[in-house]
Symmetry: C2
């Protein structure tokens, strides 16, 4: 707990969103996240990893774009594989845990 995590669910989803949207601002918008928060998370990832996970390209008329780098795709692929394996390991416990929850309400 406590220590910052180089890559977690939120950052992984943000990488996916940048990959799909091609810019940080569009990715943030698609995730309902502020541009500022998306930028801070991406800066943190680029600082925490040996190679940057996201590269930005300046300007032109439409503003700059952003691309997930090869290192970013590799980190994301490995993160998703771990996520999948970790979830699989506790599948039975998660089903039992779900019994503690209310039924999802109709309107959500």
């Amino acid at each position: 707990m406590g220590a910052a995590v180089a890559l977690g669910p939120g950052k992984a989803d943000l990488l996916d969103a940048v990959d799909q949207a091609g810019s940080i601002s569009a990715a943030a918008r698609n995730m309902g996240m502020s541009y500022r928060r998306a930028w801070i998370l991406i800066e943190a990832m680029n600082r925490d990893f040996k190679e940057p996970l996201v590269e930005t390209s300046a300007g032109g008329s439409g503003g700059g774009g952003a691309q997930v780098t090869a290192a970013g795709n590799e980190a994301l692929r490995r993160y998703r594989a771990m996520e999948h394996k970790a979830i699989s390991a506790v599948k039975k416990e998660m089903s039992a845990f779900a019994n503690l929850l209310n039924e999802p309400s109709q309107d959500s």
Copy 2:
């Protein structure tokens, strides 16, 4: 991704903090979280689970307190067990993943 999670790392840490601090405001302060955000997360947990995970007691001179309920302790215990098992399942992958990261800097 995307769907709200009834209990995750942030909410689990918040339950621990409430358990230790005995009030929502002290728990929020100890976590560097706003009171408003702590309150929203606790409301969400109490709504999502069949039994409330946190109970508040009104007032007195020192302001109200908050306690993690028996249901809350049970949910937290099972969440921590799943977390431990899930992490154990990907221990090798996590070590390899760490090689993608920069060494932690001296000042952090």
